[in-house]
């Protein structure tokens, strides 16, 4: 169970802009610790975003994504008060779902 995300969704004209901050180590599996042991990979692999239950973004992430990732995207449509739900699933099977309303 990860930590809460920060989600902001704002409507400008007919476009909704969604910004998400996530807390995650995003360990690449390439780094070594002080003892020379490789730190095993631990990454968010799947991102799913829905708007009122309808999928607006799904992505597969890998080791090139930074620690504590920031995701920003736009989609056509949306109205104030509509529900945006963001969900991530990581390589350990851990997952987190948070939601926000379009402002």
């Amino acid at each position: 169970m990860g930590e809460p995300m920060k989600i902001r969704a704002t409507l400008t004209g007919d476009t909704t802009e969604v910004k998400v901050l996530m807390t995650h180590a995003m360990e690449t599996g390439q780094r070594k610790d002080a003892q020379g042991q490789t730190s095993p990979a631990w990454l968010i692999q799947t991102i799913l975003v829905t708007w009122n239950g309808k999928s607006v973004l799904s992505a597969q992430w890998g080791p090139a994504v930074a620690k504590n990732p920031f995701l920003s995207f736009r989609f056509k449509g949306g109205a104030k008060g509509d529900k945006i739900v963001v969900r991530w699933i990581d390589s350990r099977g851990d997952q987190r779902t948070d939601e926000a309303s379009i402002a």
């Binding site: 930590e3 920060k6 901050l21 620690k67 504590n68 920031f70 920003s72």
Partner: protein, 268 residues
């Protein structure tokens, strides 16, 4: 094409990018910071800190909501802009981090060692509650003018000691803080260093901490900044919450008076 023209053309190609790279490195870093400003992960620390502030914790199972940061019990808004300050209950000048430890001990019943256990976090398995709490409290002073008082004799004393420390040369490199931070245009690698001897430099530097360090993936507080400066100077380790750390913070915070506080920020 004559050989000379060809040479000139080639020279043009080679020289142009070099000039560009030298002239605008700091501009490009500024642009990079501006691009990151929008999604500053420091917000994640602020959110966790706010949660910690309101949670009932410690042996006494109380929250920090009655903690007096100088503007009365529980007042967080604008508190950081007036710190460090003298606290009569502790009979000591304290900076924010020290005051948070004090509240965790006095209100929540933690031992001092427990409260100070992880002053600086590293990775997801060693998170620092103090860094998160600091992020939350400082965020509540964003947009407030720095207003650090030197009215109590102990506040004045801390300022004077801080000033001494700032100019004190020592360590294997015979460095003082002023060695790097006492002249315009100094830098470490590609990072411009603020000239803390000018009001403008001190204001710009102090009001931008704490900050999320992208290269470390961590939020760093002002105590961490001092701690790491001491390490880079090859000074003995600066003890967290020590009189020395507070005095230096006092000196730099007071010199930033009048500037609008604008952090937690984001840095390379």
């Amino acid at each position: 094409m004559k050989p000379s023209t060809l040479l000139a053309a080639l020279a043009g190609i080679v020289v142009a990018p070099l000039v560009w790279a030298q002239g605008s490195t700091s501009d490009e870093i500024a642009k990079y910071r501006a691009a990151l400003q929008d999604g500053n992960p420091a917000e994640l620390w602020e959110a966790r800190g706010e949660d910690l502030w309101k949670q009932k914790r410690g042996p006494k199972q109380v929250s920090l909501e009655r903690c007096d940061l100088g503007r009365g019990a529980g007042v967080v808004k604008g508190a950081y802009a007036e710190l460090p300050r003298y606290f009569a209950d502790a009979d000591r000048v304290m900076d924010l981090e020290t005051r948070l430890v004090w509240c965790m001990v006095q209100l929540q019943g933690f031992t001092e060692a427990e409260a100070k256990k992880t002053p600086f976090g590293s990775g997801s398995d060693r998170k620092s509650d103090l860094e998160a709490l600091t992020a939350y409290v400082t965020s509540e002073s964003r947009g407030v003018k720095m207003n650090v008082a030197l009215t109590h004799p102990k506040e004045l004393e801390a300022y004077r000691v801080g000033e001494k420390l700032f100019y004190y040369r020592g360590g294997t490199h015979d460095f003082a803080c002023a060695t790097c931070h006492g002249e315009d245009g100094k830098r470490i690698r590609l990072q411009d260093l603020p000239n803390l001897m000018t009001a403008e430099g001190a204001q710009k530097a102090y009001t931008s901490w704490p900050a999320y360090r992208v290269s470390q993936g961590e939020l760093r507080t002002f105590e961490w900044r001092l701690y790491d400066c001491f390490r880079q100077q090859r000074f003995p380790e600066l003890i967290f919450g020590s009189d020395g750390a507070i005095a230096l913070t006092m000196y730099l915070a007071r010199n930033a008076n009048g500037a609008v506080y604008d952090a937690p920020a984001i840095k390379r």
